[in-house]
């Protein structure tokens, strides 16, 4: 971890009570500040909350929201909710995998894109949808238009 990351981590820890119940909120804050949960952060978090590092890993590994590796600068999430599935999300995902040369869950070697899936982003009327970096929703896509979304985003 860089000095800067360590400083952010200390700030986050200071803002949370040192108890087991703070574990998940701390992991959430660290991830949103650093983009992922660096291995080196775990012992600090463990000490602060009074649980073993193994248990911190256990919790971090259990929840889909937590990432133990850095992700791409652009996180492209294909909605795989039921409405999007019914409207052809699988083909959108396949096309994006092919276009980016990676599989779902992977990051491009240049660290630019991470391709993920997400369940229902609440815009089913626009199905199928793709979300870029958590808040930029693109809807009514076909495989072709999905690739165009990435091009526009460059």
């Amino acid at each position: 971890m860089s000095e800067e990351q360590l400083a952010r981590l200390r700030e986050i820890l200071a803002a949370h009570e040192g108890k087991r119940g703070s574990l998940i909120p701390i992991l959430q804050d660290v991830q949103s500040a650093l983009g992922y949960l660096p291995e080196a952060a775990m012992p600090h978090i463990a000490r602060h909350t009074g649980v073993s590092a193994g248990q911190v890993y256990g919790v971090a590994g259990f929840f889909a929201q937590f990432h133990l590796k850095p992700r791409g600068r652009k996180v492209v999430s294909v909605c795989k909710g039921t409405a999007c599935h019914v409207q052809g999300a699988t083909r959108v995902m396949e096309r994006l995998e092919e276009h980016l040369g990676i599989k779902e869950g992977e990051t491009t070697p240049d660290g630019e894109y991470t391709l993920e899936s997400v369940a229902c982003v609440g815009c089913c009327a626009l199905a199928p949808c793709v979300v870029v970096n958590n808040d930029d929703v693109h809807g009514r896509l076909d495989p072709h238009a999905a690739v165009a979304v990435l091009a526009k985003d460059k």
Partner: protein, 603 residues
Amino acid sequence: MTTRRFLISRGTCCVSAGADRVADALETELRKVGLGGIQVKRVGCPGFSQLDPVVIVEPEGLLYAEVRPEDAPELAKSLTPGGQPVERLFYRRNGEAVPRFADIPYYRRQDRVLMKNCGTVNPESVEDYVEVGGYAALRKVLTGLTQVEVVEEVKRSGLRGLGGAGFATGRKWESCLRAKGEHKFVICNGDEGDPGAFVDRSLLEGDPHSVLEGMAIAGYAVGASTGYIYVRAEYPLAVRRLRMAIEQARDFGFLGENILGTGFTFNLQIFQGAGAFVCGESTALTQSIEGYRGMPRPLPRPRTTEAGLNASPTVLNNVKTFAAIRWIINEGAAWFAARGTARSKGTALFSLTGKVANCGLIEVPMGATLREVVCEIGGGVPGGKPIKAIQTGGPSGGCLPANLLDTPVDFDSLAAVGSMMGSGGMVVMDEETCMVDIARYFMDFCKKESCGQCPLCRLGTVQMLSTLTAITEGRGKAGDIDLLLELSEAVARGSICGLGQSAPNPVLSTIRHFRDEYEAHINERACPARVCKALISYYISPERCVGCGLCSKECPVDAIRGERRQIHVIDQDRCTRCGLCVNACPERFAAVERQPGQVPANA
């Protein structure tokens, strides 16, 4: 109300459709024409997602659909002296304009109780909520009713939990009230794990105070002074609105210490989920608030009402259940119970999606039929195509065929035909939806979300998924259907929580109602819905192909042959069935066809 103003909705769906940009543009344009005094009021989502973003003009109640920032000048001008309504932005039904919000059949046929404020009240303003009677129920309870009286009123209303299982809310509260404990808790379940539902999200985004009010009333009734709202990780806007609402309610004395001067204390905290479906289950949810992995407690486990969060008595209810409370207190149990059926009272809320003309949020009295919801309000499948199935209850529910469209939507009727009420997802499917693929989709979901504690759930879902995958990939064997039925029983019986117990439901209901489709996959190696890649083929109709060459340009694997202006042919051995050629072929030719099974060799 006679004030002239614009209402513009700001739910997640509306914002992604561009509502914020429209609101800004409207304000600018109003100033330009000297009408800067007219308010552009931001409200919650009125729920007809198909039309987003929607602008409503008060007091006339005109509704403009799919408004874009470029439309703002015209809309502003329509309010100047002599200005005319902008007819081209009216909602059209079968080609005919329906100018007024209240006349749109989608709304007219609903019975909006819990969603009444969604689309008219600014969710970011407690004053707005109070103006329409907000927190009157809390005041009534704190100043005039005993704890037992509140519980009795809720019991009399017949309200059953709207999180899916339909447990009687009054009885739950009574059990928590009776339980002994120094501390008690109230928890709102906003995990909304069904991957096709967004009802709870819309309520939290559109009318957060109604949920807070219900929780505070529950706190008083059972004797709890602390509450948690557990919100799904993917709902950032709902979290922002809740934060704001809690802060404002505290400033106004509706939450915190000594509420409304009565000495009652109730503090609320938000807990954000971290992305695990199983955490919607009560005991897994409380475990994760305590900082553990979100796994359901092993059996036998004490009742949450007796030993829930931190082993203290806890009332845990769904978002919608809490939102119903203020109506029961304000209008009376009898008023609430006047809606619905003998055993399911009040209203049912659904997010209607999939192959349906009018996507969006819908609230109807319990006991309305699927037909009323899907056909009359939802407008059926676009283009008048036939309905094949309706899915409710998400990964725990089932698919019902079109001949069951007259089934009433209530807890018991849906369960009787192999589906369930669920927490609000209702997905319409047409002839192009493959039922085996849907069963596989939900099994994949359950397999990924299984917490892994129960071997039968952990391994059984893997085995069921691989059997379903084999069938969809053309490797199905005789006996697979029986194997699935057998595994279903084992998984359901051998799991300690609802995830495993109900994971087989989508498989069971599709086998029960669409067995022929499984058989076509296994015996004929064909996917009748033309979805499963291995069991379909693409074919260019020689009658319709004009040889424009667009498809062959698009084909990523060079499987399409043909000279310009000559009929094109697909090389079936090379074709990967990606389907891009279908999109590439201009609609006026529509020469590329997707067919079930293999194309005859010499086609």
